[in-house]
């Protein structure tokens, strides 16, 4: 059931690129990524550390500045509006209003010296024209909505007075305050314990569904992606190497890296001391990339062509994979 909602995608990304000039040469952190996201759907982005997940998403919303020496390319449209040419000021406006963001460490997005209620109300005052009293009332309602007990008392506290799980709830309240169309969550629960993680993910999912927001959920935890995403994009060395519905990814991966990743996970259903199928080697150095498929040195299916030519993400029946020797026909239920 992917895609075919009436109208175009909410977010459309074409050939996104981000390069950083480093002493060792140009580091291609994001190297030609394209995808569409429909309203109301959740796209999970998975991939190992350094594969470019955060840089990709930050570059879409103007958070990878050219000031840092980054070279940003490609096309990004939100609801038809071209985002690439926006000024910093327009981006700031867009961020509170149309796009909400939740990061791994809530302290990076919370202001340590501003009371929580005021932080939540700020966007409402700036973007929705509420007066201070109305914004304060709405802030308390939002605290209730994200499950914070004693919301009036909490509204007048500072971030350091809250637990990690509560801070993340506040960050979510800020992100959703102005009813954005797109919510971006970059490892929102990685720093939290599993039981708290569950509560936060439930909260995000509920808000996303009730408000019909589109969500990009970045996670390195395939379990989190399996439970929360409609579609998944697998990144490796700055590229999207596979893109499909969540069920397709887990039931019948086509790209060998996706398969290797899934097979390397310890499973609760396996008895203790079951040998894990490790992926040999490690990801390539992004500043020293050679020709061919970036996964080739670690791939058990590689052929001569894989080392000579770069596979592009080809589409087949709505799903994409970048591989010259894709794995068999996608089997399994629901595929």
């Amino acid at each position: 059931m992917s895609g075919a909602v009436s109208g175009g995608p909410l977010l459309s990304v074409r050939d996104a690129r981000v390069g950083f000039g480093t002493v060792r040469g140009l580091l291609r952190a994001v190297d030609g990524v394209s995808f569409d996201l429909q309203a109301g759907r959740t796209l999970g982005i998975v991939g190992e550390s350094g594969s470019g997940k955060s840089v990709l998403v930050r570059s879409l919303i103007g958070l990878v500045g050219t000031g840092s020496g980054a070279i940003v390319g490609g096309e990004v449209r939100l609801d038809g509006q071209d985002l690439r040419g926006l000024s910093a000021a327009s981006f700031r406006h867009l961020l509170g209003r149309d796009i909400g963001i939740v990061f791994q460490d809530p302290m990076t997005s919370l202001n340590p010296v501003m009371k929580i209620g005021r932080q939540i109300g700020e966007g409402l005052r700036l973007n929705r024209g509420l007066d201070s009293a109305a914004a304060a009332r709405r802030a308390v309602e939002l605290l209730v909505e994200v499950g914070i007990p004693e919301p009036e008392r909490r509204a007048s506290q500072y971030p350091h007075e809250l637990s990690g799980g509560m801070r993340q709830r506040v960050a979510i309240a800020i992100a959703i305050a102005c009813e954005p169309k797109l919510l971006i969550a970059d490892e929102p629960t990685t720093a939290l314990d599993v039981t708290v993680q569950r509560q936060i993910l439930d909260l995000l999912q509920r808000e996303q569904r009730e408000r019909g927001m589109a969500m990009i959920l970045i996670t390195h935890d395939l379990g989190v992606a399996a439970g929360r995403a409609d579609d998944i994009m697998v990144m490796y060395a700055g590229r999207a190497v596979e893109m499909a519905t969540t069920r397709e990814i887990f039931r019948g991966p086509r790209m060998p890296y996706t398969e290797a990743l899934l097979r390397s996970l310890p499973r609760l259903t396996d008895p203790t001391h079951t040998r894990l199928s490790a992926i040999p080697g490690r990801p390539p150095d992004l500043a020293r990339r050679g020709t061919g498929c970036s996964f080739a040195p670690r791939c058990t299916y590689r052929s001569g062509r894989c080392e000579a030519e770069e596979p592009v993400l080809s589409r087949e029946g709505g799903r994409g994979f970048a591989c010259f020797n894709p794995l068999g026909t996608s089997g399994g239920a629901g595929a």
């Binding site: 190992e48 550390s49 499950g147 007990p149 637990s163 799980g165 509560m166 939290l192 314990d193 599993v194 039981t195 708290v196 993680q197 569950r198 509560q199 993910l201 390195h220 935890d221 395939l222 379990g223 989190v224 992606a225 399996a226 439970g227 969540t246 069920r247 887990f250 290797a260 990743l261 899934l262 390397s264 996970l265 310890p266 499973r267 609760l268 396996d270 008895p271 203790t272 001391h273 079951t274 040998r275 894990l276 199928s277 490790a278 992926i279 040999p280 490690r282 990801p283 239920a333 629901g334």
Partner: protein, 319 residues
């Protein structure tokens, strides 16, 4: 199987000013059997690392006994403790930070040999080369390099080599794969399993990822807010958790399979309480779906409910 390590009524506290204390580890009694891997799980701040450090007397616990290989470690100081230390090693979560950045890899791995008085350089070199090869590092390639030249996974291999070089009996592994990428984790877990078999090791394996813990542990101990909730063999613990907290943890695990519905943790809403002021009675009671008045009044002792199964709950889910 006999116990290689036995801690009894272990307590670790940290003063935080104003006469207040963090109750990091409270009255923990737990044994590690010779040749096993004992997994220790629990949420952040539950006291896993504090327990590990107290075992190694880094620093010694506030109270309690640590009996290791016939030695009461809490009564030993200086020379005596140093003589035991080679048999008891530790591996940490952050492999890069745990290695001295200014030293060369060969020196890092050789350091425990120097400290324990192996004077002959030729013998040291021989042993360092052997252990490097065992963990999959090429001595000729890594010898003179420094930690920052390696990835996290390679640094963890170096840390494992250093822990193994004195041929210890027990290695305490504190979150050894948590900082590593998914694709590297399996390599290191397999390596630990291989080293355990090859050197006849006993492992205390600390992690918060239950799937990782299950994959390597013969038995598992679950901690919550400084106390033990449950100890059981892995298969029974995962099949039929007896403590409500263990059950909640298991239901909360994100399973990498979209067709398995999310489990219900049954937790009461609210955050974990502060270890500065832990709840009376059972420390889990503020989040426990089965809590009754008795749970606030009495600390549930860790008791055996079936052969090899211990649980600290007034109303266990089985038995």
């Amino acid at each position: 199987m006999s116990d290689l390590l036995r801690m009894t009524d272990l307590n670790v506290e940290y003063p935080v000013g104003g006469g207040r204390h963090v109750h990091a580890v409270s009255d923990v009694t737990l044994a590690v059997r010779k040749g096993e891997t004992l997994g220790l799980v629990g949420e952040s701040g539950s006291g896993k690392s504090s327990l590990a450090r107290a075992l190694l007397q880094l620093p010694p616990p506030k109270a309690g006994s640590v009996l290791f290989d016939g030695n009461e470690l809490t009564q030993m100081r200086g020379e005596a403790l140093r003589a035991v230390r080679p048999r008891l090693q530790m591996i940490f979560q952050d492999p890069i930070a745990s290695l001295n950045p200014r030293r060369r890899v060969a020196e890092i791995v050789a350091e425990p040999l120097v400290v324990s008085g192996v004077r002959d350089p030729a013998e040291r070199t021989r042993r360092v080369r052997a252990v490097m090869e065992a963990v999959g590092l090429d001595p000729d390639v890594v010898w003179t390099r420094r930690p920052h030249e390696f990835s996290g996974g390679q640094c963890q291999r170096i840390a494992i080599a250093r822990a193994l070089v004195l041929e210890p009996k027990l290695i305490v592994c504190d979150e050894p794969v948590s900082a590593l990428d998914v694709s590297i984790r399996a390599q290191i877990l397999n390596l630990l399993e291989d080293m355990k078999a090859r050197f006849g090791l006993t492992l205390l394996f600390i992690a918060h990822d239950l799937a990782v813990v299950k994959s390597v542990s013969d038995r598992v101990a679950v901690m919550y807010l400084g106390r033990l909730c449950e100890v059981a063999d892995s298969a029974s613990l995962f099949a039929t958790p007896a403590h409500p907290y263990t059950a909640a943890l298991m239901a909360a695990i994100p399973v990498p399979d979209p067709d398995i519905p999310l489990g219900d943790t049954k937790l009461r809403p609210g955050d974990p309480p502060s270890p500065l002021d832990p709840p009376s009675g059972c420390r889990f009671r503020t989040r426990c779906p089965h809590a009754e008045a008795r749970c606030a009044a009495e600390v549930p002792p860790l008791r055996e409910i079936a052969a090899g199964r211990e649980v600290a709950c007034h109303f266990p889910l089985i038995g």
